[in-house]
Each structure stands twice: as C-alpha cells, then as structure tokens.
C-alpha cells in the first residue's frame, strides 16, 4: 500500500514537473518572440480562459462538439462490434472487410474532411470524419482483444457444451471488457481531437472548432490558446473519468479485498 501511494505521489510530482517545464517553455518563447499575434502572454491567455468559462456561448459550443464526439464514437464502436461479430462468424467477411479497414486507417484526415465538406455540410462533415477515423481503430482494437481471449477457456466451454449465448455473455464480452474499458477514454479523447480539427476546417458554427476558426481569423492568439488549453483539460478529464471504468473489472484480478492468490491448499 505504501509503495502504491509513493508511486502515485511520484506520478503527480512528475506530472507537475512536466507542466512547469511546458509553462517555462511558453514564457521563454513569449519573451523571445515578443509578439502577441504569434505567442500570447500567459496572463492574456488565463484571462481568455476565464472569459470562456463564464460565457454561455462557449459552453453551448463545447456541448455541441462533445455530443457530436460521443455520437461519432458510439456509432463507430457499435459498428465495430457488429463487424467483429460478423468477422468471427465468417472468415470470408473478415477478409472482405480488411482492405476497407486498411484504407480508412491510412486515409489522410484533411483529404476526407475536404471531400465530405463538398458532399455534405459543415455540421455533418466533422461527425462523419470523426466516425471514419475512429471506426478502423476501434475495430482493430476489438479484434485484437477478441483474439487475445484465452483459447483454453473457449476449449473448456466447448467440452462442457456451454451454449452460444452463454459463451457470448459470460465469456467473450466480459473477457473483452478490460481492454474495452482501458481503450475507451483514449478513443473518446482522440475522437474529440479529430472532431475539433474537422470543425476548424469546416468552420462549423456553434462548435469548439468554430470558436478556434474565428479566433484565428481575427488573429486572437490569446483566445485560440485559451480554447486549446480548455480542450486539453477536457480531453484529459474525459480520459481520466473513462479510465476509471477499469475499476469494474479490477475486482476480477484482485478479488474484492484486493488480495492476490496465496500459495496454499
């Protein structure tokens, strides 16, 4: 327990140190460049953060972006599950799907955003881009998790003639949950990043990307930095909050009292 607390304290200490180094770098860059249109001052940026936090328009924009992000991620995740199920059932389907996943994985984000802007609208394009970027990642992760399930447990289930439904609900899904929970935070955070990038390119009104686009258009670097820092914090909080999902499955590994197996009869 003491070792764990020390590790946690050490992590916090190093994280604070990293933030201090980044802040120091910012200050050095600001006083070197001495141009607020290129690098804003720390004070102006903090004021910008404060303004946004009490501005209803910011929260509306953040809400819209977050909702679109969650929607894109959820659809990508759901489709990944469907594709995984079909791939597990049919090797032919898996081979058919593989090239599509490869293409989506290597598609340049900017290129697809520009195409979708022509084909759809500034509101729809970012959602579609985020979905197209996250789906191949989600599918690949789920596939790896599925393949990582201990084949010996499946063999045991085959011998004991466990029903397909029970295999799905009590073996496959639960044994994939630790990986799913571990990856969800990072995936949602990544979706948010892609969403904002696409919104900037699309100039989507009433979105975080739209706020950033407007700020850059009027050379408001303090506003741009402020919104960027707020999104960094938001992304970090999302990862942290969703990362705690793993506690649900941690009880399997450590038991209810956090004890590991002893060497006894």
């Amino acid at each position: 327990m003491n070792a764990l607390l020390s590790a946690k304290k050490l992590n916090i200490a190093f994280s604070l140190l990293a933030v201090l180094v980044m802040w120091a770098g910012w200050l050095i860059a600001y006083y070197t460049v001495r141009n607020d249109y290129i690098i804003p001052s720390f004070g102006d940026t903090m004021a910008g953060i404060g303004r946004n936090l009490i501005d209803g328009q910011f929260w509306l924009a953040f809400g819209n972006t977050l909702l679109r992000t969650l929607y894109s991620w959820a659809v990508a995740f759901a489709l990944s599950l469907v594709c995984l199920s079909l791939s597990a059932w049919s090797e032919k389907f898996r081979r058919f799907l593989a090239p599509f996943v490869s293409v989506l994985r290597t598609l340049p984000t900017m290129a697809i955003t520009l195409m979708l802007l022509i084909w759809t609208s500034p509101k729809v394009a970012p959602t579609a881009v985020a979905f197209l970027m996250i789906f191949p990642l989600s599918y690949t992760q789920l596939s790896a998790s599925f393949k990582g399930i201990d084949g010996k447990l499946i063999e045991m289930a085959e011998v004991y003639k466990v029903s397909r439904w029970n295999k799905l609900c009590k073996i496959y899904i639960p044994l994939m949950l630790p990986d799913i929970f571990a990856q969800t935070g990072a995936n949602v955070s990544l979706t948010l990043k892609v969403m904002i990038s696409a919104e900037v390119l699309a100039g989507t009104f009433g979105s975080v990307g739209g706020l950033m686009y407007t700020a850059s258009m009027y050379s408001r670097m303090d506003e741009l930095f402020a919104v960027t820092i707020l999104m960094l914090v938001a992304g970090g909080l999302i990862e942290f909050a969703l990362g705690n999902l793993t506690r649900i499955t941690d009880v399997w590994k450590k038991g209810r009292k956090g004890k590991r197996r002893e060497n006894a009869a």
Binding site: E155, Y160, G255, N263, A264
Partner: protein
Amino acid sequence: MIEFRNVTKKYAQTTVYRNLSLTLEEGKITCLLGPSGCGKTTLLNMLAGLTPYEGTIENVPSRISYIFQEERLLPNLTVRQNVSLVLGKNADARRVDAYLEKAELLEKADAYPAELSGGQAQRVSIARAFAYPSDLILMDEPFSSLDTALKIRLIRVFCDLWREERRTAVFVTHDAEEAYMLSHRALVIKNGSVAADIGGDAAVPRPYGEKSEYKEKILSALLAD
C-alpha cells in the same frame, strides 16, 4: 465400454497413433502413462472431440467432463458461477453448493478465481467436473503442478466424489505414484501404441508411497525400452 478401433492420428508429418485399438472399462479409472510427447493428451482430446482423427471411437458419452492441467476458470465469474455455467439452464443452486461442499469450497463460493490458491482452484475444477452430469471424466495431469501433500489431498477429494457415482474416468499422468494411487488400470503408451496394460487391485485411493506389485509393474513398463 468405450472402444477405440483402428484409430490413427497425425499432426502434419508426425503420426501419433496408427491403428490404435483399445477399450476403456465403464465405471473404472484408467490411467494413461508414457514419456512426454507420446500422445496421452491427444488421446484425451480425441475422446473429448477436440481434435479430429481417423478410425472410430465407439460408445463415447455425449456429456464429458474434463479436468485440465490448468484449472481453466473464468476470471470474471465467482466459484459458484463457474460451476453453474456448465450446468446451463438446468443449474440448480443446491446441486452446485452440494458439490462445492464436498470439495470443501463452500466458504469460497463467492470468491473470484484470483482470490484462490492453486489447490483451491483445482478443487473448483474437480467440483465442476462432478457437478456436470457427465458419464465420462477426463483428466490431463491435473495434479502435476502441485506439491505432494496437496496432490494427496486432491486425489482424496477426487476419490470421495468418484466413489458416490463411479463414473468412467481416464486420466493422464507421467507420475507412477499418481497412477498407482488413483487408477484401477494403467495403460503405458509408447510409440503410438499400448506398450503395457496393467490391471490393479484394491480400492482407490491407495496410500502414497506404499509398496505394491501394481506399482512395480507400472514402473517396469515405464522404464522398459
């Protein structure tokens, strides 16, 4: 009586069994011994339907229990849930608890496998095998990773459960002492065939370390070229 007739099993370029024929007596515990890689586990897997083969194996029961070398418990289910899983829709809580009690695991019924010791986990595996209404129990070196005292204890747990129902059982071991303690008949497998078929007397379990003609025959068969 389970009967192997001209069973051949090949893995790529290697022939494990060629025209193997043998019978397994009902209601008895048969032990398969032999050097590593001789095909003992393969024989169990053929019985369990886990690996294809040529030839026929007749009268194989439709329901088989398997006690593996590693306990193969689902980490996300408690001890009670792991045993209930194999019973499916017919899972009777009283039946599950009865077998857990016989295996001295009732107080651990709500524990997860991560909270169990190696011996406890293997006892769950044994309880699961008996709770499942099978007519054949297969065991693949179930005691190999355990120390002597624990091994003797688990063999007694197995025998206590077996004596109530006397199901046909086949187990694989490379340990002559285990074979002596637990089996009514020992088959020594060498070069893809039965090199020796040795019948034992007296009830199981037999005492550990006891001198006996049955054990001497097993050892001689194992050591023979």
